[in-house]
Symmetry: C2
Subunit: 382 residues, 2 copies
């Protein structure tokens, strides 16, 4: 059992097969479900939902320690990014989104929380609009659930649309294609500050590994009572030179919105883009869901950002697991024809986002496979 499974998180999600049989999905090898629009047979609808995971718990610690609800603000971007980045992977344009905020009203000030989240969502809408990515906000639901939520959960559902002729189905991924990885850390031109690269996955493990058990004593609601104990040696506001920030800031760094980069890369590379992956749950193994019969080989991954090295070292987490639980510095990937590498890299760099070839595609058997080859070892995932 992995460290993460011991904490109650299984990144492979057994049990979802029953659901999958009921889904109408035009392209099983695509990154997201695409459905034919009943009103226009040439158009696909992409309806996608995902949450910020347990990252809100980290924000809650910041809120309780400082009394400042602005720690919640970045969660809006996290939940939005988990959806906007995903639907971009099939070439869809965003149309509108709703949020769902379920929280423990007895321990979080409602008006302060909702104000911070509204600021976060509005900031994202403005930033994306400035970059030419316009979509609407359709409201959503705030649910008072103190009996259900220990702290809070932030979920977004996004509706996108794509012409079926333009869907990036993953079916065109072939041996010889190259994988261009985009950095999750650093700073994009349209972002404020430097991103740690952590994004919104792996937080249950990162928090348990880094945060002091003092927080569970102070705020028992920050973990499951019998597991999820914190074993770390850091306080929220400990500044670490290796992070160039506090631990809390590094863990709450908001997930990059890759939409402007993805759109520009598609504009430059056109049909040379055969697939895109947003490295959320499953980390570096996310590409396994793209295409069929592909052996992904990633042998030129960058040095993981400091936050990942810190989690690995402090928790003694196996490197094999690290690459499955975290994006490890590469948050978004393009699978492209070799002729299109320069288009994608230059598009990313025009936004200040680091990009490089991190691997290639080879022929596999029936099912997809992935080899991650690093100085810390070679790891096979199927």
């Amino acid at each position: 059992m992995s460290r993460y499974e011991a904490l109650g998180v299984n990144v492979r999600k057994p049990g979802i097969e029953r659901f999958k049989g009921a889904i109408e999905n035009l392209y099983p090898g695509a990154f997201c479900v695409v459905q034919r629009d009943p009103a226009d047979p040439e158009v696909g609808l992409v309806t996608h939902t995902d949450s910020a995971g347990t990252k809100p718990i980290q924000a809650y610690i910041g809120y309780r320690e400082t009394g400042d609800a602005s720690w919640f603000r970045g969660l809006a971007q996290d939940a939005l990014a988990m959806n906007l980045n995903d639907i971009m992977c099939v070439g869809a344009d965003p149309v509108t989104f709703v949020d769902y905020v379920a929280f423990n009203t007895l321990q979080i000030d409602r008006v302060a929380l909702l104000g911070a989240l509204a600021d976060g969502f509005l900031g994202c809408l403005d930033t994306m609009k400035e970059e030419g990515i316009s979509f609407m906000f359709a409201g959503g639901e705030t649910a008072d659930l103190p009996d259900l939520l220990r702290t809070l959960d932030i979920c977004v559902t996004m509706v996108g649309r794509v012409r079926l002729a333009d869907v990036i189905t993953g079916e065109r991924i072939e041996p010889g294609d190259l994988i261009v990885g985009l950095r999750s850390g650093g700073g994009a031109r349209y972002e404020r500050g430097i991103n740690s690269g952590i994004m919104s996955n792996g937080h249950t493990l990162a928090r348990a590994t880094l945060m002091s058990p003092l927080y569970v004593e102070r705020y028992p609601e920050v973990s499951h009572p019998s597991r999820g104990r914190y074993t770390g040696r850091f306080m929220f506001d400990d500044y670490l030179d290796e992070l160039a920030s506090t631990v809390g800031e590094a863990l709450l760094s908001p997930t990059r919105l890759y939409a402007p980069v993805a759109r520009e890369a598609l504009r430059r590379a056109g049909p040379g883009v055969h697939g895109m992956a947003h490295n959320t749950g499953g980390g570096q193994t996310k590409c396994l869901r793209l295409g069929s019969g592909v052996a992904y080989v990633k042998d030129n991954l960058p040095e993981p950002d400091p936050v990942f090295r810190l989690v690995q070292r402090e928790g003694g987490v196996e490197w094999r697991e690290m690459y499955q639980d975290f994006n490890m510095g590469v948050g978004f990937e393009f699978i492209v024809h070799p002729d299109s590498v320069e288009d994608v890299v230059s598009a990313a760099e025009s936004f200040g986002v680091g990009a490089a070839v991190i691997g290639r595609c080879e022929r596999s058997g029936d099912s997809n496979s992935l080899i991650v080859s690093t100085p810390m070892g070679d790891f096979l995932y199927t």
Copy 2:
């Protein structure tokens, strides 16, 4: 402070104003947000999200007491109904939906839970299809969040579509209109078994009032540790003659899917339907969001179903609060021109759903108001 507020639930939702300012909404007096489809200026998109509230906790008690995950099955219908019924209120047709299931993986068997929910969603899709209401399932997200969720949360987001010329905006509601109420209890032709009428709101209060504190001792995760204590005298499987069922069965009775009735009523009554309301959070006061300058007078409400009388009596809850926290037997309302009453009533009765005129509309000042006039007292809500 109401009983419900003491449990951490505020049905008036302060703090959402910040969000409201960011929402693009064509008809502020309509039941749901309707947005212009960027691809077709004559079409409105309705993107709606809501959860089954804390009803999943009751299902969890059944699951833990019996080991049978089928107690979770009805929650799929609850979460779906909270969205499908809502979007019908503006005249929209459902297109597709996603679900979001966040749960405590350490205390709920993943495969059993997801199997029960998949059965529930598939059953609803089939039943609605038989009744001529077809829509797709677009998948969704299952999130392993043992640090966040004490038990489980089930949320659905539904996408609907309506021609803007056909939107039921609420603006045509006028003095003299009558309110036709549809029963939440009893049995519709397309349902199995008899519905208690409880739907998916008020469960935090109902559970605390009816369920024995023994359950909190056995399963501390079924409530907030410092509040939400159960003060009831019933066990989950206590059979009560007045309910004609066990307490657990009554509380887990799934929310009626009103879509077939609503569509048939619209077909018969056409433009005579000026408004529709689904009585979820806020109970009988839900109509306050419809139209402007309307004084709603409900002076012919039916005798509340037994489950509501039980909660009131056992908890000593004020009747004024009961009508604000629960649907009290009327789950869905049509605001109609008097000439259309018979069309709506006959449409409902053709499905075996009880319907009757429960009140009328009078002129109000600037803002809407509601008087609920019952043998237990007259209650004003603004």
